[in-house]
Symmetry: C2
Subunit: 386 residues, 2 copies
């Protein structure tokens, strides 16, 4: 799969991280791209989020560059807004574009001043490093506690490419694990259509991992469509491909949960509505006791039905079937006969599927992704800041 | 502090637990006691909860005996209701009281049939063991993953005693950690007054540890007032003492969190209402990242303000002060100067206080208790069922 046309990527070490690892990145579209973005709904929104929203409105969704730093969230800082604005200006000056076409984003520790001089000082070398082949280097540079870089690619017909990268670790309640996501395409797509597609796709991707509701101060996902291919796609086909890219990225976040060893897919069927199915799936996905059971390869359906029971959704427990890896462990709310040793072996796999089915109740379905929950999580988060 | 008059306690090993440790307990009031109870709001309520509700209604809040087993939750079982009913009947027959004056409760694994014969078979030896001094033995016998038994005592004036016992481990979201609580008093208190007091007291005790909202299938707290002292208390004074007993029990649950080393008290001030203060406090208390930071003695106020930010309560981050152990680490939403090493030492204490203050906004206050979150939690919950 080839990268979309008309984008260049660069990353350098600007001294923001304590360790010498690239921490300042730039993604540039040769021509301003139609853009859509979703942001954290946290009351405490970091300075770059506030500036990104402002720029996106002022530019009417036309974006030339994404400026990304790791190592400092630029959140709850005295100089935050000024830093996000002035560093965006430095990018605009270097690329000779309006400042509102620059979207800043940051990830890292909060409450520590971010030194704008480190970013503006590195700007010449950053711009000089811009390269059409720099995609993977940027995907590497935006990682924080991530163990692996996360990218996804798709094509639509012959002429259109989509390439996405993301960072984030799917934790129990990943409040501080900032999620950043950047998707580039060379398709010709109007900004309004792009916004509508992103809104729909985010619901079944980033908002269907156990991240939702516990958003960090810095979360942002941006999609750029610069039209460099010259091809206007069938919008339904394009949306399908875009959704698959976003789902792949979201699943990679869930799988790379801090300390996690397994990707867990939770399918809910038979709820009265999509909203109720989503609420049930989220409650199961968020349960630390479900997640620790998965880590222990324990088909503990009692924890599943209990988590569903406190989700706020009313259902009849005696109509519930629960399956692990396709094996029914609970039928009509009661223990089913199954080969415990055989199922335990199946649960040692790196991907685990849980199905929660309410029989005869309705057509509401939802799919969520999460990870298991191991002792490694505690080690990572007990000493992250210092 | 002496035990309330007119109660006897017994516990035996009935073979319900796999390990030979007392698992069947009985608390009997010599005369039927006025009673009040609160139950889990989980959609999936265990059979004993359903029978307890039914008996409490049928007896109009008059209770002679509490039958308690550990080792099996009698939840999501084919025979659950029949078992809870028939074992209650066996108690009623042995004590010659109406069956509706017997309140059953259970804790342990769910989805496994509970053998009524084990309980009815042990009934003669259980009743024979009834003893006014058996209080502590029952407090020991109801423990599951608890590391320590939990009891609290109070007196009101000269004549009235209150004694409570509880079990439960305050986990992140302690969905399966059934909370059982039993409080006995010899005061003369009408059932209606007792119900109103319990409802108020539970809000600032059991519902103010990070348990709330994630209730297990088996949670129940019962208060019995048998009037054996012959003393009618000043109701305000009695309620204060009852509330203190319930708060002490709830704090002991929070402190004995699975794998926990520290009790964390979260005080929220300046919210627009009590409801908003409670929501902020709960969001902070439930954050695994806050809890892991406390385990690591890290005054990571970024995680506090982030958890407050996604609580759903609107507030101005620039009016927030955050204090750890009385030391301001965040003033008006920004990092404050403090001696990091000195504060880290203070955070090594077994009790940690976090204050979250919104300046000038309102009079809403709330206090929550939780625990730190250590690797031990994962070890315990990764292998609990099997």
């Amino acid at each position: 799969l080839k990268l979309p046309l008309g984008y260049r990527y660069a990353t350098v070490y600007a001294g923001i991280r304590k360790v010498e690892k690239n921490d300042l990145s730039l993604i540039v579209s040769d021509r301003p791209a139609n853009a859509a973005a979703v942001y954290t709904s946290n009351v405490v929104a970091a300075a770059p989020i506030q500036i990104a929203r402002k720029h996106m409105t002022a530019s009417r969704g036309l974006v030339k560059a994404l400026l990304i730093n790791a190592g400092n969230a630029n959140c709850a800082t005295r100089t935050g807004l000024a830093v996000a604005a002035s560093t965006s200006k430095a990018v605009a000056a270097a690329l000779a574009c309006p400042v509102e076409q620059v979207i800043p984003s940051s990830t890292g520790v909060i409450g520590v001043e971010l030194d704008a001089a480190k970013i503006t000082g590195a700007m010449p070398s950053l711009v000089a490093a811009l390269d059409a082949d720099g995609f993977q280097r940027v995907a590497d540079a935006i990682m924080t506690t991530d163990l692996v870089p996360k990218t996804a690619f798709a094509s639509v017909g012959k002429g259109i490419s989509i390439a996405g990268m993301t960072k984030g670790s799917g934790m129990i309640h990943p409040n501080m694990a900032t999620t950043l996501g950047y998707v580039m395409t060379d398709a010709v797509v109007p900004a309004a259509a792009l916004r509508a597609m992103l809104r729909r796709a985010i619901g079944v991707s980033y908002n269907s991992i156990s991240v939702d509701g516990d958003q960090s101060t810095n979360d942002i996902v941006v999609v750029l469509a610069n039209g460099a291919s010259g091809v206007k796609p069938d919008l339904a086909k394009f949306e399908k491909a875009l959704t698959e890219v976003l789902q792949s990225l979201a699943k990679q976040i869930a799988k790379d949960g801090e300390g996690a060893k397994k990707l867990v897919t939770i399918d809910v069927k038979g709820a009265k509505s999509t909203a109720e199915a989503t609420r049930l799936a989220r409650s199961i996905a968020n349960s630390p006791l479900v997640k620790t059971a998965i880590a222990g390869a324990d088909p503990n359906w009692g924890r599943i039905i209990c988590a569903a029971g406190y989700s706020g959704v009313k259902f009849d427990p005696l109509k519930v079937d629960i399956l692990f890896q396709g094996v029914a462990v609970c039928k009509s709310g009661l223990a089913a006969d199954f080969d415990e040793d055989a199922l335990k072996s199946k649960l040692d796999a790196s991907e685990v599927e849980i199905r929660f089915v309410i029989k005869g109740a309705g057509k509401g379905v939802a799919r969520f992704w999460t990870c298991d929950f191991t002792e490694g999580y505690i080690r990572i988060n007990g000493s992250y800041r210092t």
